[in-house]
Symmetry: C2
Subunit: 507 residues, 2 copies
């Protein structure tokens, strides 16, 4: 495999105390090799916990389960709860004698909603298969002698997003214990149970429990590793804000022969609106939209330059005949995006009637970069619609309102949050990179930002300390879809990484 140049800035972080403990990953690997069957058992037990928003009892039971895991490892444990029925967050604390730094490991233990009919096996019956093919028979790992094939994958909801990072943390802890190694810093965990439902109470927890959450660094166990399968850390994420827009036509579907050309067609109005906002290359045409976007810094650019090029592989993997925007994949994620998540108007295919539809609904999300704010994006979007003649309504307009206004749009906004890019050159950042390099026995990739959104801004706003993402999951884990899975190699790598972070982090 090709070697990639690590930027000078980041190389300097690779010395540190890691060098003195260079045998740790080998020892952790040996521990893991002896315990692969039990590790998969433990992970399967965790994945079988039904922690999805639709099942509040399952979420509460999962929190309870995790508290037991932490207590068994010597942690003090506390549950943060917003209100009765709200998914609790699990807080754990392990004070380490003589440690001068404190780190909080954040992850979420809840998963995306499931539609079992779309799954090849039950989402909460963890199923091991030989690889990414859903046709593969399930494997009973108890019938196999380790080492297991690292390409095996465990299927189940939340395997990748985020149960893997929590499990890697727990196993890393066990490995260190068996190696008689102590953490190098005070360790806190905050494992949230409602991230996939919008992290509704996270800001409150972060505010109300600021004293016991006091930390020098946040480590975020969310997101995928790089598409090249190389381990990575990241220092930022895009922000997000979503909106559903409904435009209106006649009050009932009308024969488009008798009335087409005279009765406004909401499907074409929606198309014209989208086309006026975004071209085929992803460029956002809303006036002023890029005004708040700060340029990519030299440090960020160096880090981007050091990432392995995967564009050709991704193009093939996704079956694409072209890409948008004329930039590399990673560079394109440093820009804001206007994504159309869906359009619905009238009927298509065999169900299409020769009719003018009664309405058109468009679902959009904006991905934000520094220094955009959701409020500003909302203002720009609404101003743009008004400039196109739309009267805006925050509720479905009644017949009178529709008659009174030539064009009316019902907007349903989601809560949004801004992007964050944390400082990549702080001492803590350098220490994290060094420990991750040590755990991976290679230079990990260093991403200035994920393309996806993680509410890192909350941690930044309230704690003003460095924030670094330490993901584990394979990029092709089907997170947010059916048949979510974790590749065993990613779990093994994650255990190595977390063990080094626990034992070697030092600044």
């Amino acid at each position: 495999m090709k070697n990639y140049v690590v930027p000078v800035l980041l190389m300097s972080a690779m010395g540190g105390s890691g060098a003195a403990l260079a045998d740790l990953p080998g020892d952790v690997d040996a521990y893991r090799a002896q315990h692969e069957s039990e590790i998969v058992d433990q992970f399967a037990a965790f994945v079988s916990q039904k922690s999805v928003a639709a099942n509040p009892e399952g979420v509460a039971a999962t929190a309870h389960y995790l508290e037991g895991e932490l207590k068994a490892r010597g942690f003090e444990v506390k549950e943060f709860t917003g209100a009765p029925g709200v998914a609790p967050a699990v807080f754990g604390y392990l004070k380490v004698p003589k440690a001068k730094r404190t780190v909080v490991y954040y992850a979420h233990y809840d998963g995306q909603p499931v539609t079992p009919s779309q799954w090849s096996s039950d989402p909460f019956t963890p199923t091991l298969r030989a690889g990414a093919s859903l046709k593969d028979e399930s494997i009973d790992w108890h019938q196999h002698t380790p080492p297991f094939d690292p390409e095996w994958r465990l299927y189940g909801r939340a395997t990748g997003d985020d149960k893997a990072t929590i499990q890697a943390f727990l196993i890393a802890f066990d490995a260190l214990k068996s190696l008689k190694r102590s953490p190098s810093v005070n360790v806190k965990v905050l494992w949230e149970g409602e991230e996939e439902a919008g992290s509704t109470h996270l800001a409150t927890y972060l505010r109300e429990h600021r004293d016991i959450l006091k930390t020098d660094l946040w480590l975020i166990g969310d997101g995928p590793v790089h598409q090249s399968r190389k381990p990575q850390v990241y220092f930022g994420a895009r922000g997000v804000i979503g909106v559903d827009v409904t435009l209106y036509g006649p009050n009932h579907a009308l024969h488009d022969g008798h009335y087409g050309n005279w009765v406004p067609n909401p499907a074409t109005e929606a198309a014209n609106l989208i086309a006026a906002m975004r071209d085929d290359e992803g460029r956002i045409l809303i006036p002023g939209f890029y005004d708040d976007v700060r340029a990519v810094t030299e440090t960020e650019q160096l880090a981007l330059n050091a990432m392995p090029p995967v564009d050709a592989d991704l193009k093939r993997e996704f079956g694409l005949g072209r890409t948008e925007g004329g930039q590399s994949w990673l560079t394109s994620l440093m820009r804001p995006a206007l994504n159309v998540r869906g359009i619905r108007s009238g009927q298509v295919g065999d169900a299409a009637a020769n009719a003018i539809p009664v309405d058109a609904e468009v679902s959009i999300d904006f991905r934000l970069v520094p220094n955009e704010t959701p409020d500003r994006v909302r203002d720009l979007f609404e101003g743009f619609l008004k400039s196109k003649g739309y009267t805006l309504s925050s509720h479905p307009p009644d017949a009178e309102a529709r008659l009174a206004h030539p064009k009316i749009a019902y907007l349903k906004w989601e809560e949004g949050y801004p992007a964050l890019r944390s400082d990549m050159s702080s001492p803590a950042a350098k220490a994290v990179i060094a420990a991750a390099n040590s755990g991976a026995r290679q230079s990990v990739l260093v991403a200035p930002s994920l393309g996806g959104s993680v509410p890192l801004y909350m941690f930044d706003q309230l704690y003003h300390v460095p924030i670094v993402g330490i993901p584990i999951a394979n990029h092709d884990d089907n997170q947010h879809a059916a048949n979510e899975n974790l590749r065993l190699k990613n779990l093994w790598d994650g255990i190595d990484t977390y063990a080094s972070l626990l034992a070697e982090l030092n600044w």
Copy 2:
């Protein structure tokens, strides 16, 4: 009610032989008033026949039923069939001693498909209600003494489209018989059973049975009366051609945070394509699209000028805050239209995921005017897509094809046909207007064209005789939708009109 000026051209058609028989409508009304209950019985019996394409036995039984009705009235009857299982067309012939002219009455006895769950009462259990409100209780007309309230409506599939014209024809015939009046011309009928399924075999029947269908005039019993509820005749219809377009994104839905901005979004591509083809005023932007459109003639313009203005009423009825195109409703129907019948891509509302959709499907129909042809429209549309960089495919492209082409569009064309506008000033045309005026006891409205499509071109191409449409149905009859209905007043008026056409048509 306001009086509308009838153009001079059309006034000249109002003398004729109708004057000598000025009492006929009164006599027909008297007959109908005595038989309202039986007439509704007969209409209900006809509507209860399950003549929809999904029910071939129902269609065949309906043809058989109609043959019985014709035989009972002295017609020679013949069934035209394309192939086993194909819906038959019913042909009937009544030779009238000394008649010098022959007229064929065309209508279709099949109805649009039904989705019973969307209906307030079973589509084949004819239900009488007090008006257009679906909340009204059903009325048992046997419990009422005529005259019935003419605003009552009979609900059932095909009531308006086209069973009403067939029923009016049959009742008019009965009325004339009781009045001892003979038809003034030889009468033929051609009642088709697969119009709503595309009239697949109509052209074949017209060609193969040209000898027995030989005629001096086609009268078309399809379409609605004018929106003002005034009776009308029409001399043309727009043509139509439909196409379903599918555009492609990634081969599986992708997280739009991680890939949005780089992986092409088919929803926005569809929007950009539609916007490039059609503006918010209905103007078609495909280069050369209007080249084949012939201007509205002076005769057509005079007829349009004589139509009562209903734009304000329609705007209110349909709940519109604006109209497209800046022209009156009727004038706008003299232009071609690009109608988007539907768009579907990804998900909207609560079902929306932060994902780039895998494809986008757009259903379009074009309404054509003279002298456009479906072939030419197809060429223009395909040329336009190619100019936008699309490779066109007549089947869903495979993975290899999607990889090989930056943009690929799968086009599924429907069969189309051109528009027709028949000569409004032929002797036959004038005679039809005169008879219709006599039956309606007022000047009927004379429309150069319907906005909707009827394959009049077929009759024109093969017979080269005048073609006039004689509709009956109320415009608000929900044809092509659930809860189709016919307003009794429209049936009563239709009986008057058909009686005059049968007895008084003369040129």
